[in-house]
Structure formats: C-alpha cells, structure tokens
Symmetry: C2
Subunit: 117 residues, 2 copies
DNA sequence: CAAATATATATAACTTTCTTATATATAAAT
DNA sequence: ATTTATATATAAGAAAGTTATATATATTTG
C-alpha cells in the first residue's frame, strides 16, 4: 500500500519525469517548466526543488554536470543509468496514485446510502 | 496559484467529499470507505483523520453528533450548512489539481527538445 | 473458553515535506 | 539607475502525515 507517501511527495516524481524526458535540465529550467506545464497551478519553489535534487543525487538517482553559460555557472541534473529504473518506478507509482485520486470525484462513487424509492 | 497546498493536503478534500455525499459518517467508517474506494491504495490513518476532522469542526465546516450504537459511542461528522460552500470549494480545487497532475504524464508533454532529423 | 481480530475514538512524539525568508551574483530591460 | 529575469543555494519555520500508544467493546476463530 502506498500509504499516502505519494500524497505529500508529488513534486519528486514530477521532477523525475521531466528529467527522464529531457535528458538533462538545470534547476531554474525545471521550476519554469513545471509552472508552464501546470498552467501556473503548481509553483515549484527553490526551497522545495534543491533539497529534492540533492537528496536524489545522494541516492545516486541523479547526477550533476557543471557548465558555464553566459558567464554564469549552470548545474545540469540528469538521471543516472543506475537510477533509471528507480525513477521509472516512482513515476509509475505517481501515475497510479493520480488515477486513484480521480476515482474520488466520480459522482456518487463514495455514496453509501441511496434513495431507492 | 494553488502553490502546492493541495499536493500535501489531499486527504482533507477527500474526507469532505465523502461527508458531502453521505450526509453523515463516523471516523472509522471514513477510513474503511477510503480504503475500499482506493482499492487499498490509500490508507487514511487515525492520526491523520482525527486532527483533520477536529480542525474542520473548529472552523465550523463540520459538526458532530454522538450516538450510542451496540453499546459503543459513535461520533458522526457532517458538513454544516455554513460550511457547505466552503467544502464544495475545497473539493473543486482538489479536482482541479488532480486534472493538473494528469497533464504531467501525458507522453512527451514536458519535452523541451525533440529529435527532428 | 481463550486468543485474535474487528470495531471504535483519540492523543503524543516524531519525521518528512514544503513554504517563506534570506544570501549571493550576473544580464537584460526600462 | 533601478527593476526584472536569470541562476544556485541554505535556514528557519509551519503543516501534514506516520507511528506508537491508550482505552474499550464485540465478534470470530481455534
């Protein structure tokens, strides 16, 4: 049972999904893309993003490469070969959870008592 | 912008949805129904449930009535008249967020770079 | 008939996640 | 010259949820 771990931690699988699709991305880019894709609904703050990214790095799921672009240091994050299956697993769990959540707003799905006559 | 409040607080709107549909429910009943509807995916623990319920009561969104059934005290929770629109509002926000989350796993939706040749 | 499981409400300690605030710095636009 | 956009990062605090604990009755199973 997923036991609500995914209710809190939705940002992590979103980040993993975007990294997996794009090969490599830098932090600022991730925040902007999340905002864009969600139509401004989800704001991924830096205070949320970087701890997640750093933790994923420690776990060996993402790796970093530094590049200087326009005189600024830019740090690219990408999924490691080792972390690939783990990332896909977490994304799949996330997708499963979103499907489960959908069930809760089917009209009358959770209805226990029904007027029958 | 919803700014991630809904990513964490998904249990609250789920509870409100079930209460709104069923008129009144007691705590244990809510946990069982959540488990049933989610196919065992979501376990609403008591430690999560009761603080939410008590907070909603303080806010005036739910009210309680006590009943003794089978020699046990049972506490029914229901949406107040005053809390009705607020509850519907929170449920609507929740549904909106689930729709937003769905967007993240459309294939290639978040893809920035595409192989064109 | 004893033990385990299901029913029932609730609190407290703890952990994780996320928000808000802060620090630093360059580039472009107004 | 100031503001806005780009860029990374940490720290303090709040909120949500987990796990453990307490209490108690009813039902089922061995």
């Amino acid at each position: 049972m997923a036991s609500n771990d995914l209710l809190k931690g939705m940002l992590k699988p979103i980040i993993l999904k975007l990294l997996l699709e794009n090969g490599k991305m830098y932090g600022y880019e991730i925040t902007q893309l999340v905002k864009e894709i969600s139509g401004g609904e989800i704001e991924l703050t830096f205070g949320a993003l970087y701890p997640i990214l750093h933790k994923l790095e420690v776990e060996g799921i993402v790796k970093t490469e530094s590049e200087v672009i326009n005189n600024r240091n830019r740090i690219y994050y990408s999924i490691t070969q080792k972390g690939n299956s783990k990332a896909k697993e977490k994304i799949a769990e996330f997708e499963e959870m979103v499907k489960t959540l959908k069930v809760f707003f089917k009209p009358n799905f959770g209805l226990k008592y029904e007027f029958i006559g």
